[in-house]
Amino acid sequence: MNVAVSFGRGLANQIGIIRQSGLGTVGALIVLFYAVVAILAPAIAPHDPWLTLKDADGAIATMRPPSAEFPLGTTFLARDVLSQMIWAARTTMFIGLISGLISIVIGANVGLFSGYYGGRIDEALMRFTDIVYGMPFLPFIIVLIALFGRSQSFVILAIVLIIWRTSARVVRAQTLALKQRQFVLAAKARGCSDLRIIYRHIMPNILPLLLLYTAFNIAWSIIAEAGAAFLGFGDPNHLSWGGMLYELWISGQIRTAWWWFAWPSIAIITLVSALVFISRAYEEIANPRLRQR
């Protein structure tokens, strides 16, 4: 079958699933909005987010509340909050998406192999997962940043190394149940290799679960990135919403500049909620009991 056609059909199915749920549609629209903003950032940002701006009179436009000239206000260093918000959407979405995807790939594979092979492989992988469960995120990222410096890749690495654990356990549990099913034995009987059984016969059966956890992982990555950036462990060269809050904090203006504080917070909350709404739509597929009768 034509790959493009089947991909198109798959995408249409996914959209269909999300649209069945009202909240899922809202979530998808919000994510889509931020995604468009992130992609078009260079074109739509009115100012350079790092530039110190002056107003019409030539005065440095520091700490201006929202106005016609600066719709979302300006920062202590006279930078445009709207432009910063737009560029920060890029960093936040990028880190969230990459960390979410890598972590689901790791988690799914650990879970699939652990559950399918069992025995020593299972024991080794699951004890390793337990160790990761014992690692708190913030101390972990602090150590990592202290060792390697504040860079975007280490933020992603730190997030990925922590969040794959949940998906690994859930996928393992599902795999344990699925590998007992008769069709797995039938596939074995007709000579399918272990890898083929894992990827062709078991994985598609847990796809709704994987999509659910992809959405979860992306949401969690965004929160983690915001938290790390707020504490000053973000990449200073890539502005993120959490990083904006960090700059607000160190400028000491948090009690006065409500605009500088409100927009990044609202953006984080709406994006994460939107992702949770989407995952709820998938959860209804993964767990039909939640469906409305």
Binding site: Q182, F183, R190, G191, H201
Partner: protein, 339 residues
């Protein structure tokens, strides 16, 4: 001989000791022959065929004096070789509860195509043409190739599994309970279909079931299994007309006959033996109304009663007497202490 098994045993190591799930099975299947293997649940039928197809879980130990297919020693064959040359090309399986044996997320036709392409270098178009042929063979409409398993009824899924098993025209098709879980009408249709297929191709069939009437209808030869061991093997007619082993006699009693409407069935008292640690003597001795001291002490070997008819019973010489006694309800109402 297509398949020869000599003293094949399967044991599982457990914490409480070894379990001998299959012990010293001796069985042959010829070309173009249907062999039925019958016995109650847990007697080792499925374990036996899983050992043939190398589907046993880790921890199972298979030993045999001889395990040969078309003269090739299967015991010495490497897994990779077995998978490439024997599995599905030569021996295929219609698994137990075939109803659940289709992956719910793939189209039925694609799953048959997978079976074909897993073992041969066939283009998808050719494989698809073969699937159409196979669907036609088992009486499924060609439009069902693109349907999903949930769109199939139980009988249709069973046919699809049979089509899959026949995909590469193997010399031996193992059918594990092919009619269990289907209503009698569908059962009848499946049996008729399998017979039709037999007339067209010359695949041998190893038919496993606990339903003696299905086996009677289809098999050339029948093997009766109990407690992991073969009790009796005979040509189908001989087994029903002149059974020798008391267990066979008991099994026959337990199935309704159209000639004896209204007569209560006679069942065999007790339950199958616990195979943990192995059984000394005849495994059926504890439930056998004809058991004598020797039966509990020493395991009877398979002895030839007539050409092609063997039974493992110390008292096989008294077959006529036992046959007469076995049809009486009182014979089976012995208490264990008396026996």
């Amino acid at each position: 001989m297509l398949l020869e098994l000599d003293n094949l045993s399967v044991s599982y190591a457990t914490r409480a000791g070894p379990i001998h799930a299959v012990e010293d099975v001796k069985l042959t299947i010829g070309e173009d022959e249907v062999v039925g293997l019958a016995g109650e649940s847990g007697c080792g039928k499925t374990t036996l065929i899983k050992s043939l197809l190398r589907l046993l879980p880790k921890g199972a130990r298979v030993t045999a004096d001889r395990l040969a297919f078309k003269g090739q020693d299967l015991l010495a064959m490497k897994d990779a070789d077995f998978r490439r040359r024997i599995m599905w090309n030569e021996i295929s399986l219609v698994p137990q509860s075939a109803q659940a044996s289709l992956n719910p997320v793939y189209r039925v036709g694609d799953q048959v195509i997978e079976a074909i392409q897993e073992h041969t270098e066939t283009t998808t178009a050719n494989a698809r043409a073969r699937v159409e042929e196979l669907f036609d063979l088992v009486g499924l409409e060609p439009r069902l190739i693109t349907a999903y398993p949930h769109e199939f009824s139980g009988g249709m899924r069973q046919r699809a599994m049979i089509a899959m098993a026949l995909a590469l025209d193997p010399a031996l098709v193992v059918m594990d309970e092919p009619t269990t879980g289907l209503d009698v009408l569908v059962q009848e249709r499946i049996i008729r279909k399998i017979r039709e297929l037999r007339e067209r191709s010359r695949n041998s069939i190893l038919l496993i079931t606990h339903d003696i009437s299905v086996i009677a209808e289809m098999s050339d030869r029948i093997a009766i299994m109990y407690g992991g061991q073969i009790m009796e093997v005979a040509p189908a007619i001989a087994l029903f007309e002149e059974p020798v082993h008391p267990y066979t006699l008991g099994l026959k009693n337990a199935f309704p006959s159209i000639k004896q409407i209204g007569k209560p069935l006679i069942s065999i008292p007790g339950s199958p033996p616990n195979l943990l640690g192995g059984v000394t003597g005849c495994p059926f001795a504890a439930r056998c109304p004809f058991a004598v001291e020797e039966c509990r002490r020493e395991r009877p070997a398979l002895r030839e009663i007539a050409p092609g008819h063997v039974a493992a019973c110390h008292r096989s010489g008294e077959a006529v007497h036992m046959r007469n006694q076995a049809s009486e309800k009182e014979t089976w109402q012995f208490s264990k202490s008396v026996a």
